[in-house]
Symmetry: C2
Subunit: 129 residues, 2 copies
């Protein structure tokens, strides 16, 4: 038995995982398969199944902005995970601490940026990322 | 234009939405389609596409435990939403404030309940729910 044995994966073998900071700040939503969960437990760092690349990757593999696992929770139906992490630098590849840095304003139908940018993606990923 | 026009829905016309309390406590992960987003904006209360029933429902329709929308955020790739809400009573149909009330203990491979139960599901949904 292991954590993965308790979970309901979807038809593609994936389960969504909410990643939050230790103070509950929502950082990102990622997808994990059995292998990603195994590597996350083994290393203590979040590993995700990157759907665009079709493979398991260490979150922060390129940037060094890794996520150290603090706590793992299951939802009431075993359909998703909540992982609380210590986030190095920032979670978002656009340079913000959280991927949820744009708030929707329904009155104007516009998006408002609610966080300062912490790093320059060109410097971290190179100009052609 | 509207919020839904800014989003990437999956092949089934759905997008995942993290629902958090005003203090960022993660409550649940739900799925929305265009109609659910429209009704959520129109009423100010979270509506979800309940996959098990194949239709849009007011979250808390049966229990009365509705979620009043405070803020809506988009992730950096328009693939998910974060909705901050004022939660009436509790979000979880098992009687807990959050659906993430079970923490995984990797040393013992067991789940530990981390919250008090707020209501009795039998009383709210009836004994045969």
């Amino acid at each position: 038995m292991s954590l993965a044995d308790k979970l309901n994966f979807d038809a593609k073998g994936l389960i969504p995982a909410l990643i939050c900071a230790e103070d509950n700040t929502p950082l990102t939503l990622c997808y994990m398969n059995r292998q990603a969960i195994g590597k996350t437990l083994q290393t203590g760092k979040v590993h995700v199944f990157r759907r665009s690349r079709g493979r398991v990757m260490l979150k922060g593999e390129t940037s060094g902005h890794t996520q150290e696992v603090k706590e793992i929770y299951l939802d009431c139906e075993n359909n998703s995970l909540l992982i609380k992490v210590h986030q190095k630098v920032a979670a978002c590849h656009l340079g913000y601490f959280s991927c949820y840095f744009r708030r929707y304003n329904p009155e104007t139908d516009t998006l408002e940026i609610t966080e300062p940018r912490i790093f320059d993606p060109d410097e971290v990923y190179g100009p052609n990322h």
